[in-house]
């Protein structure tokens, strides 16, 4: 049975890459939408995100996408994948744009890497964190199936997720700080990197998501 996917569209940028990658990974119907009926109908839901958090939160709330996401998460049989700013929007608060309250679905903060960001050894690090970095898997999870630990995924972000409950962290990256590369709770999986831009292993993660039943 092919899986239908709703990609939640709150108008903040191009979602075709996500939709194309899901199709390539084996999805059946992929709809890019903020129509509550279409999202309720879909087997799986993707919550993407591009751009600045304040504008994203404004549009998420204006279009009611926050309620759609909460409804999807409450339906334990509906796997939900949040990507990049979509993941950051799940936390309680972001330092971006002078400080923005986010959805508070997962307890924790989204922090700026900082200017003059350095490794603990003092080596200078560029911001944004842009490029292919290692992801260390912190939990066994169906979405890591077939993906070797310490594989590289494509990141591009200036703010990082500092989750309050380390038990929810499914993977980490190191970039001067150890940040959450992935979070997992019940039927939710969230990634800071871009699986739709991470070549074969990104497609593998999306394919794992499509075959996931939402149970850990």
């Amino acid at each position: 049975m092919s899986t239908s996917v709703a990609v939640i569209d709150y108008g903040m940028g191009n979602l075709h890459s996500v939709a194309s990658a899901l199709e390539c990974a084996g999805a059946g119907e992929v709809v890019v939408t903020h129509d509550p009926k279409a999202i309720a109908r879909a087997d799986h839901v993707v919550f993407p995100g591009v751009g600045a958090i304040r504008d994203c939160m404004t549009e998420i709330r204006r279009l009611g996408c926050d309620r759609l996401l909460v409804d999807a998460l409450a339906d334990g049989n509906k796997p939900v994948l949040a990507i990049c700013v979509g993941m950051q929007a799940l936390l309680s608060h972001s330092e971006e744009n002078g400080g923005v309250d986010t959805l508070g679905i997962i307890d924790g903060h989204v922090r700026f890497f900082g200017h003059e960001h350095r490794t603990t050894e003092g080596e200078r690090l560029k911001v944004p964190h842009m490029g292919w970095n290692h992801v260390d898997q912190a939990l066994d999870h169906p979405l890591w199936t077939g993906i070797p630990d310490h594989s590289r995924f494509y990141f591009v972000h200036s703010y990082w997720v500092d989750a309050a409950d380390s038990a929810l962290v499914a993977g980490t990256f190191d970039y001067g700080v150890t940040g959450a590369a992935a979070l997992a709770r019940d039927n939710l999986f969230a990634v800071q990197f871009h699986p739709e831009k991470s070549h074969d292993l990104g497609l593998r993660l999306l394919s794992n998501f499509l075959t996931w039943n939402g149970q850990c």
């Binding site: 191009n14 194309s20 600045a52 944004p128 490029g131 970095n133 831009k197 070549h199």
Partner: protein, 261 residues
Amino acid sequence: MALAKRIIPCLDVDCGRVVKGVNFVGIRDAGDPVEIARRYNEQGADEITFLDITASHEGRDTTVHTVEKIAREVFIPLTVGGGIRSVDDIRTMLNAGADKVSINTAAIHNPDLVAQASARFGAQCIVVAMDVKRVSDAQGGDADSPRYELFTHGGRNPTGIEAVSWAKRMATLGAGEILLTSMDRDGTKDGFELVITRAIADAVDIPIIASGGVGTLQHLADGVTKGGADAVLAASIFHFGEHTIPEAKAFMAAQGIEVRL
């Protein structure tokens, strides 16, 4: 340091066709950017950059369709540059499936475009391209501390703008990355202009892509180890099958550079 240094093949595209030639063994249509992008994707390129050199308006529509086609089947980051003049141009390319847009001449004519675009679309998708040349002593440089300035129109038109201060200004305005091309080296196969690459890499917090002059794999490695670049861009050494992306990565890895293998 775990972040991999990126290797980025660059394609020059005119009216939806790759120009300056690509010569892969086994490729059916060497002018088809979709097929070439697919090939570089298979080889493990870390990103792909398209430089649109189309002059006509109609031709630019073709480029948009090309970007759409590539974005549907190549799942690595795609940067599109050339002829980007406005926020609308940027939106068009991002909607077509580009992940980043590179702004060159328009940033010189209207630096505020960089700030507007960064605020609207996010710094992560705004690349500022700088075409620089080393200027003679009479214009204020000397052998020990040469001066580099921005040029437009393929290196023909001087702007008088000093390169390092420009890079800092662009970073402050919200550029997410700098694509630095030496017009003295472009096409020479003599290697990157390492002095200015290092000077800019040290001067700004954002990542730098070195471009212009790659003739050997050692040049790619030097761009990182001596130039301090976060990514290296090359065209002809990959296009004509002189070297593959995996060869370049293996060579760089052997010199202790972190790459995505």
